[in-house]
Point group: C2
Chain length 153, copies 2
């Protein structure tokens, strides 16, 4: 069992671009309730199923298991009503890694930066491109965005 | 990827009892929509997460992955709104195995027999204790029973 502690931000300029090469994430949801989500994600030749349980806006139970990519593809294509693709840029900044997600399709041009922390009040340095915090705005969760794309807001 | 083809029956007497020793199944659901279910199940010192997708009353996509028992216990206790315990008796009869499930708690005294088949029209011999077919009665699915226990019908 693990608890994921995460804060989320908008980005306010393009200074993060070009720092690292992104990975393509293809993911979908089998369940998108606030209390629990079930995600299937493919990155390159790896795939996972992830169960998350809501504790607070910042903290979630997280259980993640590697599965065959072919299974993941079948589940995504045949069983997931809600799915999305995005580019993920993992950007290190003063000892922490920010995951910057650039959304495609109906969620473009949204860009969100996430940081995983050891505790809810762990301090971290803010890169100059980091914008407004959206941790407490449930609309910016991937589960919500997969059902209600950004361009439809 | 696998497709599970399964027919389900009530049992009409007690002649199946005593044929084999049962296993205790403890399971719960993270998602119980008709189109897709996510189940976590513990049997002894093993556990699995299972994703099923509806194809027809008889056939379902099924993806099953072993997970640590401690993870499964945490998921069941902290994240599953719907769960149940039952005894499972695996009874061989003329080349096929019937899984006879005896439910506990609010689902007692319900007993259901399932048989997995290679195709939807595979023939099989019926033991004399096999009762009415309930394959097409969605109330007898475990996902439904976990939300609407038998004694509340």
């Amino acid at each position: 069992m693990a608890v994921e502690i995460e804060r989320r931000f908008l980005v306010k300029n393009e200074a993060w671009r070009g720092l690292v090469t992104p990975k393509l994430l293809y993911q979908g949801y089998l369940s998108v309730e606030k209390e629990r989500t079930m995600r299937v994600r493919i990155v390159g030749d790896e795939a996972w199923v992830t169960i998350k349980g809501y504790i607070s806006d910042v903290s979630r139970h997280e259980f993640e298991y590697a599965i065959p990519v072919q299974d993941a593809l079948t589940i995504l294509e045949q069983m997931c009503p809600f799915k999305m693709k995005k580019h993920r840029y993992c950007i290190e900044h003063q000892g922490h890694v920010f995951e910057v997600d650039e959304y495609f399709g109906d969620n473009a041009p949204l860009v969100v930066a996430e940081i995983e922390l050891a505790t809810e009040d762990t301090a971290f340095a803010r890169p100059e491109w980091l914008g407004e915090e959206i941790t407490h705005d449930g609309r910016f969760t991937n589960a919500y965005l997969s059902q209600h794309p950004y361009t439809t807001w």
